[in-house]
């Protein structure tokens, strides 16, 4: 009655969360189109007796439990336009879409934590805001929730929390004070050449040559213009022009991604990028200026010192010193910080490893990205609970 029940119940709960995780993994949805996922989250929250609200495409449930701090904890739930190639039994069933960044872990873990908090209200006091965010990959979701009235829909939090699964040792947690995720920009460059038959290049302004020259010329920015001890990433993630061998197309498109920790470095890189794109179009003889559009812009994620120390101490107490380390600043970006920034709360963001052999493991966004189900899920659920209880626990 006493010992056996929780044991069985815990086992059941664990299996149930694993099934929920597999469900999310099988049914990924692209950013800002996550209707089915959002509905399932609402259904799970309602099953706990909570009253989920849809805000800006996301889902929020407030768990009130007497006096005490207000803690917001956020999980993201969108997937990527990647064709899964993991060979997992529970692989994506959606064509060309995959949870290749592990947001299915985040969402499942937050549902698991909500169950724990609702099940055991005696051991804590305060308010927990379980926030499920759409569209992280495109930097749209956090802004959409803020724009849709998040501040009016929930009490003002005292602190905000978030976590992310990473290609590190499974079950190990990384925390850090200060900059932890880079500032990110996406840039769409459209080059206007002039098409022609492939056999008459002298009548064309060849956008394939111009676009390729831009890609090649951009390579010198990081190595020549950025101070060697500064962080800068300039990736051309896509180059697309033309469909047939013997038609010189009219235009070309590049999609770029920039990552920085220092605004001054970012500003110099943006200026260099614009200068090079315009100059290469001039070199190619373009008669019309290129278009350079910024989109999917991610803020810098900088953990506040106080909540980071509270959470780190709680993790060490829960998981042991050998499982908790310092997360070096990573190259990726997040839009999470827009939420605490809009609500005026300090925040901390930590990472959880998901790989038995992290060396050479496929990185986030790879079609082969496959964190081991356990202990990853257990640790992410428990880390979520531990971090929240570090503020509202009795």
């Amino acid at each position: 009655m006493s010992l056996i029940t929780p044991f069985e119940s815990a086992l059941t709960e664990r299996t149930d969360l694993e099934e929920l995780y597999k469900h999310f993994h099988r049914h990924p949805e692209l950013s800002m189109q996550e209707e089915r996922t959002a509905k399932r989250i609402e259904q799970e929250l309602r099953a706990l007796g909570l009253q989920p609200q849809r805000i800006g495409g996301g889902v929020v449930a407030v768990i009130e439990n007497g006096d005490g701090p207000v803690v917001l904890t956020r999980a993201d739930f969108d997937a990527l336009p990647v064709t899964e190639d993991t060979g997992l039994e529970y692989s994506s069933e959606a064509d060309g879409v995959m949870h290749a960044c592990g947001h299915d872990f985040h969402t499942t873990a937050l549902i698991g934590a909500a169950r724990d908090l609702v099940d055991d209200r005696d051991s804590w006091s305060g308010t927990v805001i379980a926030l499920f965010q759409p569209g992280e990959e495109t930097a749209e979701g956090a802004a959409a929730m803020v724009a849709d009235g998040l501040a009016d829909a929930v009490p003002a939090p005292d602190v905000a929390l978030a976590q992310h699964v990473m290609p590190a040792k499974a079950g190990h947690i990384g925390t850090a004070v200060g900059p932890i995720l880079s500032q990110g920009d996406s840039v769409r460059v459209t080059i206007h050449g002039k098409g022609s038959h492939g056999s008459m290049p002298h009548l064309a302004i060849d956008p394939v040559v111009i676009a390729s020259s831009i890609v090649v010329r951009l390579q010198s920015i990081v190595g020549r213009e950025v101070p060697p001890n500064e962080f800068s990433v300039v990736t051309v993630g896509a180059i697309n022009s033309g469909t047939k061998s013997n038609i010189i197309p009219d235009s070309a498109q590049l999609l770029l991604n920039l990552r920085h920790y220092e605004p001054a470095v970012r500003d110099r890189v943006v200026a260099s990028l614009e200068r090079i794109v315009r100059a290469e179009c001039a070199a190619g003889g373009c008669e019309k200026d290129p278009e350079i559009e910024f989109y999917d812009q991610f803020p810098l994620t900088t953990n506040d010192e106080d909540p980071t120390r509270v959470v780190t101490d709680a993790f060490i107490a829960e998981f042991g010193e050998e499982k908790v380390g310092t997360q070096v600043p990573v190259t990726a970006s997040e839009d999470f910080s827009r939420i605490p920034d809009a609500l005026g709360a300090p925040y901390t963001y930590w990472t959880v490893g998901g790989f038995e052999e992290p060396d050479g493991a496929p990185a986030n966004h790879s079609p082969f990205f496959a964190p081991v189900l356990q202990p990853t899920l257990d640790v992410m659920v428990q880390a979520q609970i531990t971090a929240v209880r570090a503020f509202v626990g009795k």
Copy 2:
């Protein structure tokens, strides 16, 4: 009573052919998928009392009219994956497909000529093979008709004829003895890199950079490796890699088009192309070799002297000296010659201009390619008739 009738009939015939042309222009079909066009051609031929045969996707009708030479005359009828931007009232109604190379003129003119030959059997003697060919743009159609038994389906021709509309002065005709259209190759290059998150370039083998470097490096072939007085075109008609700014893709694809008049020059260019592609993949650290596949290979088109002189003299007699000139060898290619080569016949191929102001006119394959309906169509019909009658006329 006498003069008026033919006049009206000619006018009616002219309007009818114009409508037929507009019909073809409105309903373009991609190479080797021209089912609707082929059916319409058959219907037009049957209306003349002929018995069209479907061979290799094309349509052939033999017009027998007593003793005399056997003349094959060919029109092609496929269109291109181009989105029409001419603003013409009779613009393409097919999404992303357009008669951007003018094959609708060729086909309409040959139907017009067939009508004339059938209507006026007294003035000529011999056999005319009206051959409508599919899939010229992909170099598939002529070979397909030959493979499907063309030689058995028609009498052996004594001569073969073909014409093409060009960005030259409307109604002017160009002929030439010897090489008139280049040999052509299409090449598909697939580069195998290694994908990664856009913020982790050091874990990737970036196919965007490698593909761009190949495009840039290929530019030196024509200017450095081809003797300066030799003809060579190396066009990269398409470069495609990646779909999102923050995902470094796994691979990239290039589609190239080569044009030559000299086999030795072509061989050197092909060797250089392969050398550069492999070396640039090595420079980029590729772990897997690139694939280099040749497709859509066009033969050299070299007009035979005798039929060319016969046709040229007939054109001068019909249209006047000021309308007939020498066509300089053009950069484009054709698969027409595969048909006379397979049937053992000499051939000649001429061009007809379609523009009031040829300078700066959009070239074939441009989304803006729009020859004026008249006098282009009239002259192409009459040129077709004149050339055939030069051999079978009484």
Copy 3:
């Protein structure tokens, strides 16, 4: 007594001219610095009883011999900044200077012809102007002689002649009506970057990267902008920037060479060159504009029809049909035509082969360029004589 004398005299003359050739080959002098060579030419002419004049660094002797046409025949006598690597017994004794273009043959042959004309005045009637020109390689010499009063110093010629040794079969002669040598331009491009310590690239504007990018980008001109059936050469003969690995230099210099047969093509290439240089400097962030200076500009050489036919017929009569062919237009340039153009005379320019195995023979300007002494020299002497006598012979 009678037959033997001329034979021995001819043998002596031949040996003597071979020694003279070897002397010139051993003592090459750079363009417009050919003092020693000019003096030796004067000495040889004076030995014939002629009165050589120094004009614009060159030497001219007028051989008057009664009534008849006035024929100017020209040989150039400058050498190149090339370090000879032929292994010839009579290799250059001047450090880093070599007769790598064969002007020593031209000069020796013209001296040989002068000897013949002076020795045998009975067989011809008219005036022969033996013109020895300096500074052909830098396009300075012909202009210098014209500027220094050539027109006043010699009678107006009725025709002008010149010849050049080539990597073709030894003793074979090539003639052609119309364009035979290309128009040539040299261009000096100076790029102004900003130097820095090699470890601080972000403080520099790196001229090495900019200059290299220009070279790479220029490669697309011939293959993309020039019509594929037009002749165009864009060579970067020199790129120079920096002296130490760890100092980023302040500037870079490129030396380019352009060759064309069509002024319109040349104009487009020059415009593209200027556009690319300026745009690449902009891409690299240069704060100061590049300098683009034209120098060593060679005119087009186009043989006039009448003198070419006269000379060709005379060559066939002298050497046999199998030794005289049509010279295809070559890629090189000459300033010879400036002289007949200034004097208002038609002209013809022919080539003489100098190699037993022309395939793979080192081309003019190579450190390995070594035409065989005989029959090359004999044929060039005799061609000179034959061509002159075709106009003034009795």
Copy 4:
């Protein structure tokens, strides 16, 4: 009598050192050719009653003063192949050679410190080794002194010291524990093409295009292959090929400079560099392999903790806290550490600013590099004295 004397003497001493500095600045000598400078240093040391020894091109004087620690302090004295453009009254009088890195300050300061230590032996006890090193710029000097028996010529030091003038605020001092100067490599790349006349590119293997393509392709190493949070510099300091516009040269040479803090990153960059050079030569069709030679290799400079703290505390006591800061790791390299490493001593290396307006000041190795004479020299002399006395002072 008492106060005035030291004042005047100090003034005299100051003026004298300023003159000595100007002397060194006026007479710079290239690395390992510093005969005149070495002689002047010996003369100065002998004037103090010391017995300088010449070792490996450098000069060493041991100042013994009773029991106590043995402190080695080192100044370098070579200059650079840079043409001075500072406009200073005491500008270099040597053609194309300049103290563009400030070693004249280091040497003058160490002579000043030696004077102080010799003049005032009562206030300290121990042994000071004043070491003047040649050839720092080429990484030859420290190794040469070690190879020439430095260890046998001086007592084993307990600590080693060195300082460098920098483009920072004049008189400000920077210290740091751990890595402070990068590891450096120089690389000479020789590309073997095939020369030809500039108008016959198809007969050449163009080394100008190949060398330029290498430079362009190398630009992707830092931005694509090095992790974005790692330090890496890949500079091409020189590209040289060809001398004339119309001769395609036979070969090209590149001089590269690499800087790293992590051996694993350096190893990857070296591998990438070799891969790219070889692949680009293959792309260009080279028939002979390129040569890749390493030279001027600098070790990593990593300050030991204990001496750095001792020296930093002494600087704060002497100059005040506002004048002493943490030096961030700089991009440059030094061979200083070879000396303490060979002698088994811990070491520290600090920097001194030399500019009133450090923002935008010309960096070391610039032809405009001109630290202000004062307070730079005073502070460097005093820093030298302070650091030594921190170990041997009473």
